[in-house]
Amino acid sequence: MIEAKKASLIGRRTLLTSGAVGLAGLLSGCDALSRNQSFQNILRSAEDANFLVHRALGDRMKLASEYSIADLSPKFRPNGTRDPGTPDYRSSAAQGFSDWQLRLTGLFAKPQNFSLSALQSMPQRTQITRHDCVEGWSAIGQWTGVPLKILLDLAQLHRSARFLVFHCADRLGGRPYYESIDLLDAFHPQTILAHQLNGEALPIENGAPLRLRVERQLGYKHAKYVTGIEAVATLVNIGDGKGGYWEDVANYEWYAGV
């Protein structure tokens, strides 16, 4: 009886120690695996699965949920750059962005520039949507802007175009911010270039004078301070080739639907 008890006590201690050693081993092993490129590629396959399943689920043009004025966040949290702060941006802001130009370049039959007032005189869409940050927080805001489809039709997007790259006026850590989306999101009815938040001119901290809204993806896709839209066949020649600032700098996934 005593012998048996002793044996089981030793057993428990061995079990606990091996558990602790195992956990420590697991941790350093996980870090090594995280830094191993082929293992990263295996883990990444799940992100491809997310993308495929999301695109396979029914209507690809399905709208993100829209809300009412009563649902608005009291304060829409700004994130990333709060003010690009460059001399050009400052002087443009001082004039109420009346000199702001949105340049459409790349694979368009009629590449062209649009002034802010030209964009404002086009048909507009207003939507109250939930902005979901990759970090975990959410904010509900009302956005008004011109549907991207209108601009793509005016500039006549070329058949060889596969992605739209959004160039921005702000820099983070010395690099220009940029983002990209595919054509499915580009022609989605809720994809707009917004110049108003909650019925007022877009504040500088939220991306004045123009920001992208691509409602079925996380916040880092919603490029702020947009100066240009470039239509491209591939993303490899832009930045470090991963399709966006955070994708290049911190390995964020290009498809941000999760």
Binding site: R12, L15, D31, E47, A64, V134, W137
Partner: protein, 269 residues
Amino acid sequence: MTVSQKPSLVRHRLPTRLWHWINALCLLVLVMSGLMIFNAHPRLYWGEYGANDDYAWAAVGSSKTEGYVRLGETRIDTTGFIGNWRDSEGRVQTWAFPGWATIPSYYSLADGRRWHFFFAWIFSLSLTFFIIASLINRHVQKDLHITRSEWRPTHIWGDIKSHFRLRFHEPDSIYIYNILQKFSYIGVIFILLPLMIFTGLAMSPAMDANWPWLTDMFGGRQSARSIHFIGMFSIVLFFIVHMILLLLSGPFKKTWAMIAGGKREVGPE
């Protein structure tokens, strides 16, 4: 009741054993990579939205000198553990959960998400296969099903009292799950684990566009995130109780049975 299959002579059938270990690994990685994701914004809200200016029902606070957890209006000092801790090189870090509890142990939201989503797929698929297999091999109907007599309050109360006396099974039928065991296994397999999958899906903006009812069902995206976190905590609690009861009831024999199958001491009638 007709028994359609030959009664199993092993204590744990192969699908049960396979799933048990795959699931254990998945949960370990999911909890630890989930804590890394949580570290990016260690605040929890109720409702559809929630950010720094909104009221968080739970939050981790950090400074150079202290760390604390705030639950409602109650502040709990967690310096050295959560919010302010030393990494393996002795430097003070102010992320919410410490490196030994997260995957990876260094701060990387992107890597944490990769681990989380990869193991979330394995976790969801293996749970689905396990449930289907357990309905086919009648593990659910024979071992987990709660009989009418077991639902009697006197029976449940009797089993609670037996647990306090560390008597978990009838001596002549130790392979039969007791009622508390059935409650917890059914609760985990059919409620808690699926809840983790669905609250996880409800946080995805693309899933929300496809299946808006899912996010609505939980009362909004931030509520789904809070429930996801509480669910994680419940899984950790289940694991602790699971380990205590294992240690109290013959850890080696039972662990080996979950690996190799084990024997049923008494054949079924």
